[in-house]
């Protein structure tokens, strides 16, 4: 453990901007939702009506079940996706300061100094724990200061910190397994995706037993502000203990920079077709494309399967039915459910698109673009090879999502083959309608890469802002001019809603302009 304190200070120094940002944003979301709801629905009757009308199965699938109709319980529920984001940030933080450092060879430099074998892992975990603790403290203080019951505030804080720490520990285990940081991230994110999927499946398909397998559900089972129950802390604590023990055991047995999964040898010579920038880009992008595709097919099957159950539940609710039709949405409950879920998935796919586009910047800063651009590959050709994946990758992922939702919803409806044939094209159309918004974010990343390469992170900032707009924009009473900045606010509500082509064309045109600007900039600027 020698040197852990110095390493903690190093991590805090390196992350002094990023960590406070996510800690603060994630910590204030539950109180922001709560105060927003309390202002909009001041009486208990109105709150109950909100719970009945607004909640509905689509959002319960995304956020978890509604436990009570007081403002705080509903606010915490409405912020129900935040613990997943906290888990994501925690697990990535741990991997960033363990396996990434090892892969880059910096761990070795530090390892030669007076540093204990476990100092790196401990420092990363302690920083993640500190961040989660601060999140929990902000949550507790913010609720108590607003006069909400302390027990509920503490349960909410523990819900967040518990989920965050379980996945910090998952990151610690994943970091021991593979030699590459990318592989470790893939393992940790699959675990997070799996946990979320289990919760969605359990809550929306009426199989509560499944939710007991998901650390994300354990936090919600504390029932903040809805008659707190404390014993679900036990599985969280046990999971953290088991995972950390495993991580430390593995770390103690392996060499620095080695993984537990053995590295494999590659081919002695390249395949005959491996002779173009596109072939190289395929090798660099295929892992992410396969991963996202597999994840979305799984989610699609679960969501499609849940659509029928959700529709039944919603159909019993006349009030909700009226509201949905009045809003111009579809009276078909199954459609409304799917449309609600797809709006979130569109943003998720944009994350993939931005990541794929910014692969170019990674190649550049890691000095791997240079040797390729010193051959007969032109800058435009090199860029095009990556754009194939940033622009067409989302088409593949969204198409697979549409087919998966359509097939599983059609099969669930139980009207035979006719329904399958009918559902698939409709849902497919709905998922593909997200493309112009997804492209516009990828194109923003490309424009930044070409013109302001040092500021490519702005693309992630924009994505996060648009996600927040969708989550709390209406509650915070943001002016519509601000909300309209988000490309996602211009998408039709599909399936079932009306389609207006103009916004889709405008978004596509903006994307084309941004791509052209990026290409222009990249062909004229210095590399590196």
């Amino acid at each position: 453990m020698t040197g852990t304190v110095s390493l903690i200070r190093l991590i805090l120094r390196r992350d002094r901007v990023v960590t406070p940002i996510w800690v603060l944003i994630l910590a204030v979301l539950p109180i922001a939702q709560t105060t927003g709801i309390a202002e909009l629905y001041p009486t208990e009757q109105e709150l109950r009506r909100f719970a009945v009308s607004f909640a509905g199965p689509a959002l319960e699938a995304l956020y978890g079940p509604v436990t009570h109709w007081n403002a705080a319980a509903l606010g915490v529920w409405r912020a129900g996706f935040t613990p997943v984001l906290l888990a994501l940030a925690s697990t990535l933080t741990v991997i960033r300061h363990t396996r990434v450092e090892e892969e880059a060879g910096r761990r070795e430099l530090l390892g030669s100094t007076a540093l204990g074998r476990h100092a790196g892992l401990s420092a990363a975990l302690i920083v993640a724990a500190l961040a989660n603790l601060v999140v929990a403290l902000i949550i507790v203080l913010s609720f108590v200061k607003q006069g909400y019951p302390a027990a509920g505030a503490v349960a909410t804080g523990l819900n967040y910190a518990g989920v965050g720490m379980v996945f910090a520990a998952v990151g610690a285990v994943a970091a021991q397994l593979t030699e590459s940081a990318g592989g470790a991230r893939a393992i940790a994110l699959s675990a997070l995706g799996g946990a979320y999927l289990l919760r969605v499946a359990g809550d929306s398909a009426g199989l509560p037993a499944l939710t007991w397998l998901s650390p994300i559900a354990w936090g919600q089972k504390l029932r903040p502000f809805a008659g707190e129950v404390w014993w679900p802390l036990v599985p969280s604590a046990a999971a953290i203990a088991v995972l950390l023990t495993a991580a430390y055991l593995m770390a103690g047995r392996r060499d620095v920079a080695a993984g537990l999964l053995p590295p494999r040898l590659g081919p002695e010579r390249a395949a005959p077709g491996f002779a173009s920038p596109l072939a190289l880009a395929w090798r660099l992008h295929k892992g992410a494309l396969f991963g996202w595709s597999a994840g979305f097919v799984l989610f699609g099957l679960v969501i499609g399967g849940a659509a029928g159950t959700a529709a039944d539940a919603m159909a019993e609710n006349r009030q909700l039915l009226e509201m949905m039709t009045r809003l111009g949405g579809s009276a078909n409950m199954s459609d409304a459910f799917v449309a609600g879920v797809l709006s979130i998935f569109g943003i998720a796919v944009s994350g993939y698109a931005v990541q794929a586009a910014l692969r170019m910047r990674a190649e550049e800063t890691l000095m791997r673009a240079e040797p390729v651009l010193a051959t007969r590959v032109s800058r435009a050709g090199w860029m095009a090879s990556h754009l194939v994946f940033a622009l067409l990758g989302p088409v593949v992922v969204l198409a697979l999502l549409g087919v998966a939702v359509g097939l599983s919803a059609g099969a669930g409806a139980g009207d035979g083959v006719g329904d399958l044939v009918g559902q698939v094209p409709r849902v497919l159309g709905a998922t593909l309608a997200q493309l112009p918004a997804v492209w516009s974010l990828a194109a923003l990343a490309v424009a930044l890469f070409g013109l302001l390469p040092r500021l490519v992170a702005v693309a992630w900032g924009a994505l996060a802002a648009f996600l927040l707009f969708g989550q709390i924009g209406a509650l915070l009473d943001l002016p519509s001019a601000v909300l309209d900045l988000s490309p996602f606010s211009h998408l039709p509500h599909l399936p079932g809603g009306e389609v207006t082509v103009a916004p889709l064309l405008v978004l596509t045109a903006i994307s084309v302009a941004l791509l052209a600007a990026g290409l222009y900039g990249f062909r004229r600027r210095d590399l590196g």
Partner: protein, 294 residues
């Protein structure tokens, strides 16, 4: 035949740092040209400008008869480049990278590639992340040396190689020269340049401070002289670092003032004299130290 590389008055700044400050560089066809300078002198920046990866702020650059910025793609068919810091894709094997880079250039010789892999003792099946610095360098060197190109741009190509592999590299460059190809070899190791290069340019603070054949450069160096005289010398002109201790003197003298210095010494009666011949080392040390170049 015109120069393969011709750079004149090139400047390049990054923010407030001036990496190249009026650089001149001429490389003739078929020669191995040493590009020497301390760390941070601007060697890598100059090579990146020659590759069209960076655009010069001012000055003219000609490479193989073209403009490296405007005609980058065409020119790149005819050259191969080994970066100073080789990074490989972690999930590609060394063999795949060699084939890819060779194919993306003007094509390469399969037999020569196999021979080079053997001579450099490289395992081409390992993935990029598993290679050491020296082995990553070998991957880039094999890809460049096997390529069928007129010009090789090598940026400190031996910095990670062991002495055995350095010897292999020296042989390979000699073969390349025998085939009539041109090489620009940047380095900060004098011995390497002395072994390999026909002509040398020394660069410091983004400017070429000396250029010429090794014989010409030797001529520029100073001879160290220690002498015991019959009487104390009455002032020696045109010498450097003069130290007088009674009848003993020691000093350094430029090659063109040697004759004059000896005449002054013999005026005082020479009892004994040792003269140490100039080494390039001293020339380099002189240019590497941070005092102004001239």
């Amino acid at each position: 035949m015109s120069n393969v590389i011709s750079v004149s008055g090139v400047t390049k700044s990054f923010g407030r740092t001036r990496a190249l400050d009026g650089l001149n560089l001429e490389v003739k066809p078929g020669e191995v040209h040493g590009f020497l300078g301390p760390n941070g002198a601007g060697k890598s920046t100059a090579i990146r400008v020659l590759l069209g990866l960076l655009r010069a702020d001012a000055g003219t650059v000609r490479l193989l008869g073209g403009d490296p910025w405007a005609d980058a793609v065409e020119l790149h068919r005819r050259l191969a480049y080994v970066p100073g810091d080789v990074t490989l894709w972690p999930n590609l094997s060394g063999g795949e990278v060699i084939d890819l880079l060779g194919r993306l250039r003007g094509g390469f010789d399969e037999t020569r590639k196999k021979e080079l892999i053997e001579r450099f003792d490289l395992d081409p099946r390992k993935k990029g992340r598993a290679y050491s610095k020296g082995n990553r360098q070998k991957v880039a060197l094999v890809a460049a040396l096997a390529s069928d190109v007129e010009l090789l741009l090598l940026d400190e190509p031996t910095s990670g190689l062991d002495p055995l592999m350095e010897a292999v590299f020296t042989e390979c460059v000699a073969e390349v020269r025998a085939q009539g190809r041109t090489v620009l070899l940047s380095s900060h190791i004098l011995a390497e340049v002395e072994k390999l290069c026909d002509r040398v340019s020394i660069i410091r603070d983004g400017r070429a401070v000396e250029t010429g054949t090794l014989a010409q450069l030797r001529h520029l160096t100073r001879t160290s002289i220690t002498a015991e005289l019959a009487t104390a010398p009455n002032g020696l002109r045109g010498v450097h670092r003069l130290r007088v201790d009674g009848n003993r003197v020691s000093f350094e003298v430029d090659a063109d003032r040697l004759d004059e210095a000896l005449r002054q010494l013999s005026a005082s009666g020479v009892r004994s004299l040792t003269s140490r011949p100039p080494t390039l080392e001293e020339l380099f040390m002189r240019h590497y130290q941070s005092e102004p170049a001239r």
